[in-house]
Every structure is written in C-alpha cells, then in structure tokens.
C-alpha cells in the first residue's frame, strides 16, 4: 500500500494543480456549468483517492468542498467571491495536507478545523442554507450518534434469479448496515410438484437499526429489477432492536405478516419508544434524483521522468553512433552502405526530434501560478488588474519551464507592484482603460521561444526625467560610467539588470522584494536565455525573455583550437573572418577591424593558456553579445554540428563556460562552449565591452 501511496501523492499534486487552474477559470466564467462539473470531478477524484490511501484529513476536507460544488452544480448555490477565495486557499491547504507527516499531523489537523469553520462561516454569511449544509455533512460523516430503525419489505420478482441476482446477497448487505431482525415470508411457495426451480417465491420483512440514512438502505436495492417490490420506511428515530424484550414484541408483529405490516408496527412503536424515553416518530421516504455530468480533458499517458531520461539518453547514444557510421561510410567506400547509412541518419534525426519533443510541455502549465499571483497581489495592493495570456500552447522543455517560473513570477510581481498605476483614476486620467492589464505572450521564432510580460502601466522614463537620472546617478556611483558619458536608452534598460539597480529602488520608493532583476537575468542565463526590458513612459513596460527550445541539443559550430574540439552555439555566431596571426598579435587595444567595425578579440588560445604556436592564418568568429560583437580566435573551423549535450565530470565543476561536452562521430570529445558566460568572465577581467 505504501508504494501506491507515493503514486497517489504525485497524482494528487497534479489534481490539486488542475483544481487551482479550474477554479481560476471559473472566476472568469461563473455561470459555466461544465467548468463547475470539472471542478467537481477533480475534487471527487481527490476525495476518492485520499480516502483510499489513508489521507483522512484530505478526505474530510475535500468532502466539504465537494458539497459546496455539488450545490453549485445543482444551482442551489451561486459562485461567489467568498467561495472562490475559500477554494483557492483550500488549494494551498491541500498542498500542505498531501505532505503530511506524523510530526505535522496535529498542526495540520488544527488548520483543517479552522478551515472547515471558515467555510461554514462563509456559507452562512452568503445567505445560503448553512443549516442544510451542516446537516448534510453530519449525515455523511456518520457521526450522528442516533441509530434509527427502518422497516424494509423486499419482494423479489419471480424471475429474480434470471439475471444472475441472488436475493440473499442483498439481505447480507442489509445486515452489514447494522442490527437486523429478519423474517422471511414463505407463504407463496407452492406445493413441491408445482415448484419451478428457476423462480423465486420468497419475500422478506425486516427491521434494521443503523446509523446510516435511508439512502444507504435504498442503495442496497438499486440493482434489483423493476418488477421486484422494495419498500423502505423509517419506523423510529431510536434503536428499537437494542433491547431483547423489544425485539421479541417486534418479531411477533413481523411474523404475523399483515398486509399493512408497517402500520401495525407503527402502532407498537410509540410504546417501545416511550420505554426508551423517546417520543419522536417520523416516517419519511426519500427519492433519489439523478444528475448528469459532462467531462473533458486531454488524453495522455503518464510516464515517470526517469524513463524519459533513459529514453533520451539512449537516443543520444544512437545519434552518436549514427554519426560514427556516417563518418565510416564516408571514409570507406563500401558499395551499398551509403544509402543505408543515409536512411539511418534520416530516421535517427526524426526519432531524436520526436523523443526530445516528449519532454516539451506547453507553457500554459505555469500560467495558473501567474494568474494566482496577479489575483492575490492586485487584491493586496488594491489595484484592478486583469491577466491575459497569448500563445499558451507554445512548448518548452519541462526543465526550462520549471526553472523559468520563478523569474517570470518576479517580473510579473514587478509589473503589478511598480508598473500598473496606483489608482484607477490615474489611469482614466491618462485615457487608459480603468483595469490594468498584464499580458503573458509566448511565441516561437527560429529555434528559440520568446516569452514576453507586457504591462500597460506607467512605464519607465528612459529619455530624461527622474528614472533616467536615478539610473545614471547609480551607474556613476558604481563607476560603471564616467559622469560625462551619455547613456543610450538601451544601456539604461540594461543597467536595470545589474545588481543594485533593482527596479524598486530606481523606479519607485517601494522596497524591493529581495530579488532584483539581476537575479532574474542570472536565472535566465542559466537556461541559456536572454532577457531584455523595453518601456515607454506612460504606455507600459515589456520584458522579453528569449529561450532555447531544449537544453539537451545545441546547434553549434565545430571549431578547433590547439587540436581541441569545441562547439560554439550557432545562435550566437555572427560571422567568420580570416586574419593573419601577426595582425591579431599586433592589434591595438585588442581591437581588430571587421567589416569596418572595431571588434574586441578574445584570443581563446591565450585565454586557455595553450602554448603551441598558432597557425599563420587564424579564424575570428564574431559572437553576438547583446548589441555588441566579440571576436573569438580559433585555429580551424570544421563546420556546423548538432551537439547532444553530455554533462562533464565533477573535475570540471569549478568552471561554468563549458556546460558540457559532446562525442563526435569519430569518438573524440568536443567541449561545448557557453559563449555568453565566457564573454561575461572575459569582460570582468580583461576589457570593458562597448567602450
């Protein structure tokens, strides 16, 4: 059971996330029945599973929630802000509950009770029938200590056996509900010679004392055919079967088998009840109503990420071997081998693309979190903001999405806090819609994915004015620029990504939240991505994040430096030039002229302390770094190469400009160079870029 429990935990986490997503969706379309159905279904699955695997707190809790949504479903309740708030808080609470440990159980239980109280308060406040609600939950919990006594008359149709039913099973089921007093009626059994062995002649009169309600008894008979007669009625709110003497009286009455047995029983009941100091008598029959549900989600199979990683690993191996095969085919002219090798290359490529796409998930997966953030923070700051998203089907590697969520949260937080105007009046005065807007936009471009967070708030004054001056002052203070130098718009925005330039401190006086844009930039750089800000005063701010599609394959340029293979990501390669070595050696200020532009050079041979003499003709690859180009000198260029990234051993942990390596067709290793990291490092130690 323990093993299943872990599996359920995983499942529950997904269900909770789905619930959160659905509730947020419901907020926008309160009347949408199918969303309510969906919320209900998710809660129900959660409840069923938690009861199954012993998460009793979740079971209790979701039960209450489920009741609310059941009532919304039947139209008894309306979706109100209070209900949505409670449900969303509940989502957070559920997340804690699923992680319950013996140590935290007491604490969680306390919270649980607090929550249940809250729910009840909200419901009673909302002019809803809270009594009804409470009763309902009490009934279901079976905590009501009253045991009631029911009368049941069961008369199976004569063909009852024919659909494989057995009336004794039903009687068994009744016995499981509580104490019983059962009297079979044999009067209809014909003479032996007239008995048809496939017919049922017996009926039953019985009393059952149970804590369950009448539905539990009705349920037992749900599957009897329509021709069978079933009567269930409450005889007393007391347990009449507890006392032996009472049982005897009742048994006698039952044995008489009157046509109006229930009435006859009812006559004796008051006396018996009186004997038990009770005087209530109530008879009720309950009808069952049916409801319909519509359900929809996308079909998918869940596979453990470990299996996926293995698969990807094997495909990577296959790609490597395939490259070896191609090389061998080129070098050895075997007749007939070339077409086979080509075919394998084609299939391998398709296989690789398909397998790698398995890891891709749509960005919509992280949207719920942002929606929550916008909702909660805007409430907190008393701003009216809508969150919109576009291009949510854009897919990214699961790992990237996971690591991306935090920085994007930070950007959105900034937008809400500092971007959107303090008041709606301020917005209206500027001729903008009263509601602030934050747009999450995702799209593909080439082998990259772009994600933009666009707000229509105040924007940053880049030209002159307070913001620009503040940034300038800060930059001068940090000795990043000299007091005389002009800074461009672009540079100004770039400064915002440096430590100490947090938007909070610059744009408004509100304090930052500990994480500045420098951290955002670093986190995105870890994903081999880039981030940029653009803003127009009065119109809003756009933050654009550029990301690679996947982290495990790099389209690169294979080069050689001192006989060592290196792969430079093609996305940052701009152009390749050829220079005589002496020209590079004599370059003034380490700058060379490429297409009439002065470009600083990073001599890889020198940088990595390679001692062998360089070839007379060296290649310079210009690498894009922001708006500048940096020239990397290499010995030889071999060509384009799709590198499957393999991690380097722990001996290489101390550096981060070689994030990994790849195995070439001939089995040799090529180091994959992270040009951005290298340039950053180089810029820190050697020259100032762009000046």
């Amino acid at each position: 059971m323990e093993a299943f429990k872990d599996k359920f935990k995983e499942e529950a986490k997904e269900l909770i996330a789905e619930l959160e997503h659905m509730v947020l969706k419901l907020e926008g379309n309160r009347a949408n029945k199918s969303i309510v159905e969906e919320v209900f279904r998710v809660m129900h699955s959660l409840k069923g599973g938690s009861a199954m695997f012993g998460f009793s707190l979740i079971d209790k809790f979701t039960h209450l929630l489920e009741n609310i949504y059941d009532k919304i479903r039947t139209g008894e309740y309306q979706v109100t802000d209070d209900i949505l708030d409670i449900t969303l808080n509940a989502v957070d609470h559920l997340r804690n509950l699923i992680e319950e440990t013996p140590d935290t159980v007491a604490q969680l239980e306390k919270e649980n009770n607090k929550f249940i109280e809250q729910i009840e308060i909200v419901l009673s406040k909302g002019a809803l029938k809270s009594d009804d609600f409470k009763n309902n939950s009490d009934d279901d919990k079976k905590v009501s200590n009253h045991t009631k006594t029911y009368f049941v008359h069961f008369e199976p149709s004569s063909d009852f056996f024919q659909d494989g039913s057995n009336p004794l099973f039903l009687i068994d089921d009744i016995c499981q509900l509580g104490e019983t007093l059962i009297v079979p009626v044999y009067s209809k059994i014909p003479k032996y010679e007239k008995i048809n062995p496939i017919d049922c002649y017996i009926s039953w009169n019985l009393l059952v004392a149970t804590d369950d309600d009448i539905n539990a008894i009705m349920d037992v008979f749900i599957f009897t055919n329509k021709r069978s007669k079933v009567e269930v009625a409450k005889l007393s709110d007391k347990n009449l079967l507890a006392e032996k003497s009472h049982r005897k009286i009742l048994l006698e009455t039952l044995l008489k088998n009157h046509a109006d047995l229930f009435e006859k029983l009812s006559i004796v009941v008051p006396d018996l009840e009186k004997a038990q100091n009770g005087n209530e008598q109530n008879t009720q029959r309950q009808r069952v109503q049916s409801s319909h549900s519509v359900e929809q989600t996308i079909a998918s199979i869940r596979v453990s990420s470990e299996k996926l990683d293995n698969l990807i690993n094997w495909v990577s191996e296959l790609v490597t071997i395939q490259a070896q095969l191609s090389l061998y085919t080129q070098q050895n002219q075997h007749i007939g081998l070339a077409p086979i090798s080509e075919e394998i290359e084609k299939i391998t490529r398709r296989l690789r693309d398909d397998v790698f796409s398995i890891r891709l998930i749509p960005v919509s997966n992280m949207l719920t979190r942002f929606q929550r953030l916008v909702r909660e923070l805007s409430h907190e700051l008393d701003k009216d903001i809508v969150f919109e998203s576009r291009g949510t089907e854009t897919e990214l590697d699961k790992n990237i999405i996971e690591m991306l969520a935090d920085p994007v949260m930070h950007i959105i937080r900034n937008s809400i806090d500092h971007g959107i105007e303090e008041s709606t009046e301020e917005r209206v005065k500027k001729g903008k819609p009263a509601k602030g807007k934050i747009l999450f936009n995702a799209y593909y471009s080439g082998t990259n994915v772009y994600i933009q967070i666009i707000d229509d708030g105040k924007g940053i004054d880049a030209e002159k004015g307070i913001d620009a001056e503040k940034v300038r002052a800060k930059a001068i203070e940090k000795e990043l620029i000299s007091p005389e130098s002009e800074i461009s718009r672009k540079e100004l925005f770039d400064f915002l990504f440096l430590p100490g330039f947090s938007m909070a401190k610059v744009v408004t006086n509100l304090s930052g939240r500990g994480v500045g844009m420098d951290v955002v930039k670093r986190k995105i750089a870890d994903l081999r991505g880039q981030v940029e800000i653009d803003s127009k005063l009065g119109f809003g701010t756009t933050v654009t994040i550029k990301l690679p599609l996947t982290l495990s394959i790099i389209d690169g340029l294979l080069v050689k430096v001192d006989n060592i293979n290196m792969v430079i990501p093609l996305s940052s390669v701009h152009k390749v030039y050829e220079y005589e070595h002496t020209k590079i050696e004599k370059a003034i200020n380490n700058l060379i002229l490429a297409d009439d532009e002065r470009v600083p050079i990073l001599n890889l041979r020198k940088y990595f302390n390679m001692t062998s003499p360089p070839p007379p003709l060296e290649r310079v690859i210009t690498i894009e770094y922001g708006d500048y180009y940096i020239g990397f000198t290499v010995d030889e260029i071999i060509g384009e190469y799709q590198a499957v990234l393999k991690p380097l051993g722990s001996a290489f942990k101390e550096q981060d400009f070689f994030p990994g390596a790849t195995i070439l067709g001939d089995g040799t290793v090529a180091l994959v160079l992270d040009s951005n990291k290298l340039i950053e490092l180089f810029a820190k130690t050697e020259v100032k870029i762009g000046n």
Binding site: E11, A299, I301
Partner: protein
C-alpha cells in the same frame, strides 16, 4: 477461479491497487486509463468482468457502460463500478446504464474480492 478482468480508472494509483489485489488473487488484469481507452480493449476479446470508475475524462463510466451494453459480445458481461458512498444518484444512473453492481471506495482488498465473487461465477 482465474478470471480475466478489465479495470478502467483514470487514477493510476487506484488502478494499481485494484490490479495488485486482483492479480494477487490469481486473476488476469487488463488496465485502461479511461472510457475511451477501455473501448479499444473491448474489441471482441473475452473478459469475465469489467470494473470501472465513474468520473473519468474523455468518456465517463456511465457512458462507457452504455456503450459496452451495445456491443453484442459484452451484452451480459458483469460490470462493477467504483463509487463513493455519497453518490446515490450516480448509482441509479449507472444502474440504468446497465451496471451489475458497485464497489464502495475506499475499499479493503477482501471487500473487493467479495464483491467480485458475487457477480462472477
């Protein structure tokens, strides 16, 4: 008695628990992740029993039961569904769709096997 049983549930953990219990009891188990998936397994192969959840995406349990009953080979196959106690209305609906009986969630292995014994001979 070794039986071939089709389990339909969108929750992997429930699916595993049920199949674990049944396999331990010596039955052969086929698993489907929802109603739609289940129909692909109902292609004429012989089963002794179908156990299905009611709340599932794509094709829910009720719809599945209705569809199964329209297939000639499975007209009389016993179908049990999994349900929680609070859902009387659902039970009626499932019954009308053609279910044979139900198993209340949460269940213990013995209960499950007992319920199966009642419908499979």
């Amino acid at each position: 008695m070794e039986k071939k049983i089709l389990i339909v549930d969108d929750s992997e953990s429930i699916r595993e628990v049920v199949s674990f219990t049944l396999e331990n009891a010596g039955h052969e188990v086929v698993k489907a992740i929802d109603g739609q998936d289940a129909l692909t397994y109902l292609d004429g192969r012989k089963y002794d029993l179908i156990i299905t959840d009611l709340h599932m995406p794509n094709l829910n349990g009720i719809e599945l039961i209705k569809r199964v009953r329209t297939i000639e080979e499975y007209k009389f196959i016993p179908i049990l569904f999994l349900t929680t106690e609070s859902q009387t209305a659902k039970k009626m609906e499932a019954k009308e769709a053609g279910a044979t009986g139900w198993i209340v969630k949460p269940f213990v292995p013995e209960k499950l096997l007992e319920a199966i014994k009642k419908v499979v001979r």
